[in-house]
C-alpha cells in the first residue's frame, strides 16, 4: 500500500475505527493502541487488498480480530453486565436523547453485553450494512438482523431509563405510536 492510499485510509476511517475500538475496550489507551495496531497492519498487509473499496471492512474486521486476540491473552478488558432495565419504560424519543449528556449515552453503550455492543458500534459509528457486519463478525445475516434489533431495543431502554432518572423532572415523555 502506498503512502497516498494509507493517508486516505487514515483520513476516511480513523475516527470511526477509534470509536469502535473504544466501544470494545472501554478506555482511551487501549482504543488508541488498537487503532494504531490496525493501521500498522494495513501498512504491512494492505498490499494484499486488491479491491480498495474493501479497505473499510478490512480495517474494522482486523481491529476486531486484534481485540479478540487481546482478550484471549489477558483479562485486562472489563466485562460489562447488561444494565437491568424496566420492561415498562416509555419508548425513548429523539428529544429524550437530546437531553442526555454524552457520558450517559456512552455509558448505555458500554453497559451492553459485548455481542450487542459490537453491532451497535458498527451500525452507528460507520453505518455498516448488515451484510458487512455479517462478514466481519462471521455471523449469519439473520442472526445479525435479530441481534441488531435486540441491541437497539436494549440501548433505547437504557437511554430511556437514564433520561427519566437524570432528567425525569423536566422532560415530558411523548408516546410513540407502535405500528
Amino acid at each position: 500500500m502506498n503512502e497516498a492510499d494509507y493517508e486516505q485510509a487514515v483520513n476516511s476511517f480513523y475516527e470511526g475505527l477509534y470509536r469502535f475500538a473504544f466501544s470494545l475496550s472501554g478506555n482511551a489507551d487501549d482504543a488508541g493502541e488498537l487503532t494504531q495496531e490496525t493501521y500498522a497492519r494495513l501498512m504491512v498487509k494492505g498490499g494484499q487488498l486488491r479491491d480498495r473499496s474493501k479497505v473499510k471492512s478490512w480495517l474494522f474486521t482486523t481491529l476486531y480480530r486484534i481485540y479478540l486476540g487481546w482478550k484471549r491473552r489477558d483479562t485486562r478488558h472489563p466485562h460489562f453486565e447488561i444494565a437491568s432495565v424496566e420492561e415498562e419504560l416509555p419508548p425513548v424519543t429523539p428529544e429524550m436523547v437530546d437531553q442526555l449528556g454524552n457520558e450517559a449515552v456512552n455509558q448505555s453503550l458500554m453497559e451492553m453485553e459485548e455481542r450487542y455492543r459490537v453491532l451497535i458500534a458498527l451500525h452507528y459509528f460507520e453505518n455498516h450494512s448488515y451484510r458487512e457486519m455479517s462478514r466481519m463478525l462471521d455471523i449469519p445475516v439473520g442472526t445479525i438482523m435479530s441481534r441488531l434489533s435486540r441491541a437497539k431495543d436494549m440501548m433505547r431502554k437504557s437511554l430511556a431509563a437514564k433520561a427519566i432518572g437524570a432528567e425525569g423532572k423536566i422532560i415530558s415523555i411523548p408516546q410513540r405510536n407502535e405500528a
Binding site: S23, Q36, A40, P94, N102, F125, S129, L159, A179
Partner: protein, 247 residues
C-alpha cells in the same frame, strides 16, 4: 410478511439510500409504503437512529494527537516489511550469528566480545515474533514495567533519545546477563535501545565515546556508563549519529 417481520428487517435499513436497491429490504419498504402505521414507525425509527448516532459519535471524543500519530506511523512501519519477510529475516539472523561466531574466533578477545554483543542485540532487533511484549508510548511506564521484571531502569539516556516516544519493550538475555530492549521512534525511525547491567565490556571503556559499527545490516552504537552497557540499533545511521550531537 407482517409488520413485525417488516420492522425487524427495517431496523437494519440505512436511510442514506445505500440499501435502497437491496432486494432484502424491497418487500419491507413496499409494505411501509402501503401501511401508514408502518411508514410512521419507520420515519420515527430513522429520526431516533439519527439522533442516537449523532450522540454516540460525540460521546467518544477522538484524541487530538491520534491522526498525526497514525500518519507518522507510515515512516515507522516502513521498516516492517523487512521484519515481516520470514525468509529474509531468517537469512539476516543467520548472517548475524555467523558473523558473531567468526568474530569470536578471529578477533582479539576484547574486540570479539563487543562484536558478539552487537550481533546478538542486532538479532533481537531483527526478531519479529514478540519484538516487544509490553507496549507503551511513555518511557516512564516502560521503566515501571521493567522494574517490575527485576531490571534496574535508572538509565542515563542521550537527551534527544529521552524526548522520543517509545513503542514498548521486552527483556533480553546475553550470556546469562539480563537486560532490556526498548523500542523508540526517533524522528519516525524505529530504533531499539538495549541496556545491560553488570559492568562494562572489554573494548568498551566506561564513559568512553559511543562506538558505531554495522551488525547484520543494522547500524549499532554502543557505549558504557555507570556500570551499564548501552547499545542502539537502527536502520538509519544518520538518525543514530544525530542523537549524540550536542544540543
Amino acid at each position: 410478511m407482517n409488520n413485525q417481520e417488516a420492522q425487524l428487517i427495517l431496523q437494519a435499513y440505512r436511510p442514506g439510500g445505500q440499501d435502497a436497491s437491496d432486494p432484502l429490504f424491497a418487500e419491507a419498504l413496499e409494505q411501509a409504503q402501503r401501511d401508514p402505521a408502518l411508514q410512521k414507525w419507520l420515519a420515527e425509527e430513522n429520526a431516533l437512529d439519527a439522533r442516537v448516532r449523532e450522540k454516540l459519535q460525540t460521546a467518544i471524543p477522538i484524541p487530538p494527537e491520534l491522526k498525526s500519530n497514525l500518519l507518522a506511523q507510515r515512516k515507522i512501519v516502513r521498516l516492517a516489511p523487512w521484519y515481516f519477510q520470514p525468509v529474509k529475516l531468517a537469512a539476516a539472523a543467520a548472517v548475524v550469528l555467523l558473523l558473531g561466531l567468526a568474530a569470536s574466533r578471529l578477533l582479539p578477545q576484547k574486540q570479539a566480545q563487543l562484536v558478539a554483543f552487537r550481533s546478538a542485540m542486532a538479532n533481537y532487533s531483527l526478531t519479529k515474533k514478540e519484538h516487544i511484549v509490553f507496549t507503551s508510548h511513555d518511557i516512564t511506564q516502560v521503566q515501571e514495567w521493567l522494574q517490575g521484571q527485576g531490571i534496574k531502569a535508572d538509565f542515563e539516556l542521550p537527551a534527544a533519545l529521552r524526548r522520543s516516544p517509545t513503542h514498548g519493550c521486552r527483556l533480553v538475555d546475553w550470556n546469562g546477563r539480563k537486560g532490556a530492549m526498548i523500542c523508540f521512534f526517533v524522528n519516525g525511525e524505529h530504533t531499539d535501545l538495549f541496556v545491560m547491567d553488570g559492568g562494562g565490556l572489554p573494548g568498551l571503556p566506561e564513559n568512553g565515546a559511543p562506538q558505531f559499527a554495522e551488525a547484520g545490516g543494522m547500524t549499532t552504537v554502543a557505549w558504557a556508563k555507570a556500570g551499564k552497557i548501552y547499545l542502539l540499533s537502527g536502520k538509519d545511521k544518520k538518525t543514530l549519529q544525530n542523537l549524540f550531537q550536542p544540543a
